[in-house]
Amino acid sequence: MSRVRVLVGTKKGAFILSSDGRRQKWEVSGPLFAGWEIYHVKGSPADPDRLYASQTSGWFGQIIQRSSNGGRTWEQPGTEPGEPTTTPDGMPKGESNKFVYDTSPGRGKPLTTHQWYDGTQHPWEFKRVWHLEPSFADRDTVYAGVEDAAIFRTTDGGKSWHELAGLRGHGSGPRWQPGAGGMGLHTILIDPKNAARMYVAISAAGAFRTDDAGRSWKPINRGLRSQYIPDPTAEIGHCVHRIAMHGKRPNVLFMQKHWDVMRSDDAGESWTEISGNLPTDFGFPIEVHAHEPDTVYVVPIKSDGEHYPPEGKLRVYRSRTGGGEWEALTKGLPQRDCYVNVLREAMAVDTLDECGVYFGTTGGQVYVSADAGDSFTAIVRDLPGVLSVEVQTLS
């Protein structure tokens, strides 16, 4: 029988929630990496027992953790204890925690500054890894979206990371600016039918696409409108919160922007608004049903100044028409006095026949729906604030 493994990153460690395909009884293990912020944990599609975790701390910086047995044990990829940490010529060896921006002149136009909150230019400074995206084909190849915004790749299982500098080399970097949570590259989508095509999203720069495996990138923000920037329809500067796609139809993208829920039918070349009858079109996560490419989920949040559900009612909204028409999903969710948030990385779907929908809240609850959103139950209610939720469907 199939099983599911839910990988939860929180402000104080990671947790693994496991169940059989019925998704009624759960085992909870953790906290892993107790006391550390875990921005993201994700498994490799090529080898589901290979997991990667982004462990981060304001004190001690960035750590990459790796498991090869489904999360039972973890290691930091890289130099073994006792081995020299420098090469014979004295250069530091590749280390799993080392994310150094590419400043070589031969790779486009490596940038040194971006726009700061006050409009002045500010140096690029690595802070943390927001998102880890393992490749479909190779368990040792992983992409990392980082703050300050850039994309890195490892091809040796996380031992060393190298920037795909063409993204920052696009030339628009001086117009990128941090959102309230920092200037993070938080979304990486790989086209399952064409590994050379990837999408990323940055707060607050917008969405970008590569068609040559990351060597060059183009902004794909036409049709977005953001009243909070000087030119609401600018090519750059939109605070995209999340993008989702269905693997069988990768040219169709769904976006939750700072405000507005958007859709593209041409791989991001143009976007149209599909907010429709949502009570508010502000929010963070967006997901697509595993088997129905036009079934989309969002969690409306009151506003950019009030990060909680409108009216104190926690509601997932589902569209079965690819946007525009939305229905509130409330069964099993608190419908009074609820003031949690659901962060952009904290929603996922499984691929069981009856698609499961999962999300975590800043209040520490992780909810599951085993019936595509018709009803929810809480797997756990009292974890630290949830930063990320991923789910693996295991046979």
Binding site: F33, W59, G78, T79, P84, T85, N97, V100
Partner: protein
């Protein structure tokens, strides 16, 4: 033998409890101790000092014999009680939120 006391989160990272002891040749400086520490525990690279600049991370401090040496030159000799192992070198995480 140099004794080093690390913050709890870093001990968890290197799976060690209690103090860390290191052999460091003379002259015993802060840089030499940190180099030896990172060679023994490569997973600490980047957690105390920046990977590239080798500068102390902002929320990390160093104390020796009850004195804050965070801003001293890293090539200065550590106090004799630390160099002899009588007193530990303290790596301290700032108390800040969380």
């Amino acid at each position: 033998m140099i004794r080093v006391v690390l913050p709890a989160h870093l001990l968890t990272l290197i799976r060690v409890t209690g103090e860390v002891s290191l052999d460091v040749e003379d002259p015993v400086t802060l840089r030499a101790v940190l180099d030896a520490l990172e060679e023994r525990y490569p997973m600490l690279r980047g957690t105390i000092r920046d990977h590239v600049s080798r500068e102390r991370r902002p929320f990390v401090r160093f104390f020796a014999c009850e004195a804050d040496i965070s801003h001293d030159p890293t090539d200065a000799a550590l106090p004799p009680p630390v160099a002899s192992g009588t007193e530990p070198l303290l790596v301290v995480a700032a108390i800040a939120g969380g």
